[in-house]
């Protein structure tokens, strides 16, 4: 198991991280290049920046939209996301690994806060799944990945929490860590190709939606030509 653990921590980690970073960079670049093309062909190039920036920030810190619709779900979702984002990036143990590997680290969460946030991510992740299953509308809209993602995301949190806090013995610890690392790597690899890509795409959403309403100037003529409808009556 040690060899497997080493493999998971070394080459496999680097591979999955590379897939994630390249994959996410790909979707962001695709978005940005499409946005640039859209801007270039738009007949009206005035982008409502105020609106776009305000809305983007609003959804980054969506506190004032919580109670507008599905308040419980929205509140749970925010708490879940806070834990989900902060713990992996700012956990002391993770930062130390980075420091060892790349020579520098960054601010870390106090242990107690990290533990509470981990628990919050687990509990509220499960609650979100329960709400998704129990709401008729959510259940109807959901695809397989929508039910699976909360569960997949919870594996590294649960294993990490157990390894860090429960006396599971050396063998148990190693097994837990292996699961922790492998599940995180699976997430890294899947992330750019599934809805979780919203972690990098969301900041672009408002801009993309605003730009999509900026049509090219000669739509009528061009579409008519392509569809062979030139001169056809209305």
């Amino acid at each position: 198991m040690d060899a497997l653990l080493e493999f998971a921590r070394g080459p496999l980690f680097r591979f999955s991280l590379a897939i994630m970073l390249l994959g996410l960079a790909r979707v962001v670049l695709l978005d940005l290049s499409a946005a640039y093309m859209a801007y270039r062909r738009a007949g009206d190039k005035s982008i409502p920046w105020n609106w776009v920036i305000r809305r983007t920030l609003m959804w980054f810190f969506p506190v004032n939209r919580i109670f507008a619709s599905r308040p419980v779900y929205s509140l749970f979702s925010i708490i879940f996301h806070v834990g989900l984002l902060l713990v992996p990036i700012f956990l002391y143990a993770h930062v130390e690994l980075w420091r060892g590997a790349i020579g520098f680290g960054w601010w870390t969460l106090p242990k107690a806060v990290a533990d509470w946030l981990t628990l919050a991510a687990i509990v509220f992740g499960l609650l979100l799944l329960i709400l998704r299953i129990s709401s008729r509308a959510s259940r109807f809209l959901s695809r397989k990945q929508d039910f699976l993602w909360p569960l997949i995301l919870l594996v590294p949190f649960v294993t990490g929490y157990i390894c860090a806090n429960a006396g599971v013995g050396p063998a148990g610890y190693r097994f837990g860590m292996l699961l922790h690392i492998l599940s995180a790597e699976a997430i890294f690899i899947l992330l750019p190709f599934t809805k979780i890509a919203h972690c990098v795409l969301m900041p672009l959403s408002q801009l993309i939606s605003a730009l999509a309403w900026k049509f090219p100037a000669e739509t009528d003529d061009d579409v008519c030509t392509t569809l062979n409808k030139k001169g056809a009556p209305v």
């Binding site: 005035s46 109807f140 809209l141 209305v234």
Partner: protein
């Protein structure tokens, strides 16, 4: 949970189709709106061709790519959709409606979707799916309230807009809209209500006479005055149905003395292109541009109409010169400015009824015009009440997105589309409901009638007309009024 759903009986009535079964059979299309004769052969292939052509010459692909990558299916939109709230039909959830088109896009226009579809031999676009889209996209009132609630920033209104556009290219569009646009673009009258110019001139003269009698002031509707500051394009149906709104607008211009004109070459602000075809949107806007140019006007002034205002404001720059296009304002912006500058006096003792303001979606959803009309109303209506939610979160009248012009679906609009609005109006207890939009007005008038609510629906300028104060210097002496009228006779 609070139920806003309609009863089974109401539902049956609302969804009753006015179409003859043999037509439905012949067109192979089971929708509630009338559709002109269409080619039923190879519909999926033609749909995909139209889809491809539109994607090629538009910016929609960028948005579709973005949306298919990140849609999280949180279903927050469900709780904001007035249609879903009324029907309780899961297929009316905005995210589901969008998915209808997104799934076609994914299957036929993305590499992953094509490979998966080919490998599994599934997902190919079928007649049934087109039928479902044709039904679903016209159940939506295009109010875009769901857009405000989508954390992913998905514009379901944009997808519905695109879906209708593609469908229209294969002939599936409500006949009521297509016929109007045909008259507007190719007919002899050149407007959606088919009003000939002599009839327009007569109507305006008649309104001026009425105002002279009413207010003792000569209030003209200037026609074809070159070089005017404002060239006026109301929803043309106002000339037939909303005389008081037009009289209010003319009265405001009389009070300020600013130059405005209506062009007899083209005088229709209505643009159904916004509802079903970007191609028509472009053609109609080019008519506004040409007429404004002919009259050497300075600003395009749109009357009390939400979609006319938004289509001109947002898309005149798109199709007619970018930043060099004519500036576009809505009449309420003008009235607000002159009122704020003290150039318009309103009597605070005339309107004693309980007044509420309804936000037209196309004016309020993106925060364009929300507070200005309220400020004016509060200044002279003693008994102003607010309906909630309001402003950018307002509830649609239920006839948005062109559905109000489809008379055969009135029962749907007033039982389903307008259900939440009716509840809201009832709760407010308003006696006068100010709805500065030709679409909203028609829908709300039908809504209060069908839902039996004791409330009068009107425009902002209808009330302004009642309360406007003219200086004595503008008043024509009674004898002159009489002789003027006798002379006319």
């Amino acid at each position: 949970m609070k139920t806003t759903q309609i009863s089974a009986e109401e539902r049956k009535k609302a969804f009753a189709s006015a179409r003859k079964p043999e037509v439905v059979e012949k067109q192979r299309l089971d929708v509630r709106y009338h559709v002109e004769d269409i080619d039923v052969k190879d519909r999926p292939r033609r749909f995909l061709e139209a889809f491809a052509a539109i994607l090629k010459h538009s910016n929609y692909q960028m948005a579709l790519d973005h949306y298919v990558r990140m849609s999280a299916k949180c279903s927050r939109c469900a709780t904001t959709c007035q249609v879903y709230q009324a029907t309780g039909d899961l297929k009316d959830i905005p995210c589901y409606r969008s998915e209808l088109l997104l799934s076609v896009y994914r299957r036929h226009f993305t590499l992953g979707g094509m490979l998966r579809g080919r490998a599994l031999g599934s997902g190919y676009l079928t007649d049934e799916k087109i039928q479902e889209m044709a039904d679903s996209f016209w159940n939506c009132t295009a109010c875009r309230r769901c857009v405000n609630e989508c954390p992913s920033g998905i514009d379901h209104g944009l997808i519905t807009h695109l879906g209708r556009y593609i469908l229209s290219e294969i002939g599936i569009a409500p006949r009521a809209l297509v016929v109007s646009v045909r008259e507007q673009l190719e007919g002899t009258s050149g407007n959606t209500s088919a009003i000939p110019v002599p009839a327009l001139v007569d109507t305006l003269e008649f309104l001026s006479e009425d105002m002279l009698e009413d207010k003792g002031v000569e209030i003209p509707f200037p026609l074809d005055v070159e070089g005017s500051d404002y060239v006026f394009y109301p929803a043309v149906s106002d000339f037939l149905m909303e005389a008081e709104t037009l009289m209010g607008i003319a009265a405001v211009f009389k009070a300020t003395g600013d130059s405005w004109t209506t062009g007899t070459g083209y005088f229709d602000g209505i643009n159904y292109g916004l509802f079903y075809s970007d191609r028509m949107l472009e053609r109609i806007l080019k008519k506004i541009d040409a007429e404004t140019r002919r009259l050497k006007g300075k600003t395009v002034l749109i009357g009390e109409c939400g979609h006319a205002s938004r289509s001109a404001k947002a898309f005149l720059p798109t199709y007619c010169g970018g930043k060099d296009a004519y500036p576009v304002i809505n009449i309420m912006e003008y009235t607000y400015d002159v009122w704020k500058a003290g150039r318009l006096k309103l009597d605070p003792n005339v309107i004693t009824e309980k007044v509420a303001y309804h936000d037209p979606c196309n004016l309020a959803r993106q925060g364009w015009i929300v507070d200005k009309p309220r400020e004016i109303l509060k200044s002279f209506c003693k008994n102003y009440v607010e309906m909630t939610p309001t402003g950018i979160d307002n509830i649609c009248c239920g006839g948005g997105g062109g559905t109000v012009s489809i008379d055969e679906i009135r029962s749907y609009r007033t039982a389903v589309g307008g259900k939440l609005k009716a509840d809201q109006i009832r709760k407010s207890g308003a006696q006068f409901l100010v709805a500065p939009c030709a679409n909203c007005k028609k829908q709300l008038k039908e809504l209060v009638e069908d839902q039996e609510i004791d409330c009068e629906v009107m425009g902002l300028h209808d009330l302004i007309y009642r309360a406007i104060i003219f200086p004595d210097s503008m008043k024509v002496k009674p004898a002159e009024v009489e002789s003027g009228q006798k002379g006319e006779e």
